[in-house]
Symmetry: C2
């Protein structure tokens, strides 16, 4: 399967520390070596970096680790292919535009028999179940709300309903953002931490790196990090209940909805 990393903050923050650990899981400390990607919102714009190489061997990943890009919403993914060959077009996160906003989506899990009807509003470019589900979610948003984006609570209710529907077909953990809010769905496995003053010293699990956040933050800063598995070994991460959709905004959980617990589906490895 794959691993997810997300960040949602109240002030633009760089993700270099968390990404340093996360990158190791793409072929170093773990086996998710079939490509990786990361997308940063900057205002309404997005910088998306994708590579079909393992993150541990990717020059682009090395660049991202060392170059601080400040953002309030970040979604990253390291891939272990289940459906869809190891190719750039199958690399998460995926991006589309709806209502004059970019939307970013990354999925961990496998929903092999989810074959919704697509009307052509949004079509997958690659061959993953993940991009298909993303296109379907945006299509359903558009179908229900026409050309005007509804309030975030309405979007949130709708997304919970859609996550329940897709989640019946397998494991459907995902991160989903429009640059304003970040939705995190735990189907089977997802954790998060909210860092705020007094900021801790944090030590990565996957590399021997420690950071003292007090030296790089103000007392007003609030940063939520969401990850498939905790990235540090000296902090307490919240384990999200399976079957839960969270809405993060300004670096904290603002709303919670129950969905369906994802079925565990046997994964197929693509050659």
């Amino acid at each position: 399967m794959c691993q997810l990393l997300g960040m949602n903050c109240n002030v633009p923050t760089d993700i270099c520390f968390s990404f340093t650990g996360f990158q190791q899981r793409g072929g170093g400390t773990d086996h998710h070596k079939d490509g990786w990607g990361i997308a940063f919102f900057e205002g309404r714009g997005v910088r998306q970096f994708l590579d079909s190489k393992a993150s541990i061997h990717s020059p682009v990943a090395e660049f991202i680790k060392a170059y601080p890009i400040h953002s309030t919403n970040v979604v990253a993914h390291i891939r272990r292919a289940t459906q869809g060959a190891v190719k750039l077009e199958n690399t998460h996160p995926f991006m589309r535009e709806l209502w004059g906003h970019y939307w970013i989506f990354a999925h961990n899990g496998n929903i092999p028999d989810f074959q919704p009807y697509l009307d052509g509003s949004f079509l997958p470019v690659g061959s993953t179940d993940s991009e298909l589900a993303f296109c379907w979610i945006l299509q359903e948003f558009k179908k229900r709300f026409g050309n005007v984006m509804p309030e975030k609570t309405v979007l949130f209710d709708t997304l919970a309903e859609l996550a329940t529907e897709a989640g019946r077909h397998g494991e459907f953990n995902f991160l989903f953002s429009n640059g304003d809010v970040l939705f995190a769905h735990c189907s089977m496995k997802l954790t998060y931490i909210v860092r705020k003053a007094p900021f801790p010293m944090a030590r990565l699990k996957d590399r021997d790196v420690t950071v003292d956040f007090t030296t790089v933050t103000t007392s007003q800063d609030r940063v939520a990090i969401i990850a498939t598995a905790p990235l540090t070994d000296n902090e307490t991460w919240e384990v999200i209940d399976p079957g839960t959709l969270l809405l993060f905004q300004d670096g904290q959980v603002q709303d919670v909805r129950k969905t369906i617990v994802g079925h565990k589906v046997t994964t197929m490895n693509v050659p």
Copy 2:
């Protein structure tokens, strides 16, 4: 205004040499310092790198210059803002999906009073005339051809018609690709060169750099480079007639259509 750079080849080729010269024009040898971007097709996927910094001062541009990404279709742009503030969301090239393919668009010129009706299929995220025109082109494609991409010659005829319509409102030089073909429209100013065996030594205009292409190519390779102004000073570049749309595929011009000669419109500088 801005400058365009495109590449279309019959085998995946890197653009490091041309980009090295082009980068200089973003705040070095020329004044296009309001951001830059580049998009590379790799199969059906796209790697897009955007920065609202001047290319001459952009760490991402330094990375791109040194890291050879092989592609058969590349579109790059350096921006001097006319409409739309200096922000990431106003940085070209723009990307959307239609018919399960990504489409990439970059514009040089200014069409300030072009205000077509948008039905919501594709909406601009930023505030440039360029992204608006791109969304309108894709909308018209979809309106005419529904959910199935037509043959490239049909697309080409349609695009010539749309370029004529938008071109009535000002200067509308653009590069536009779906990863299979690259369309280049000269409204007022655009040049190109096709390099093939026997490959030349080429010397950049904007930096003291020379390359011997015979050392990095085979006799079958063919590479078309399209640029607002020639990038080398020891080769003969074709100056495209104003009011011409070209279709590049496999590193050569495959088709030509006449459009309207773009009006010269006084540009407005955004603070």
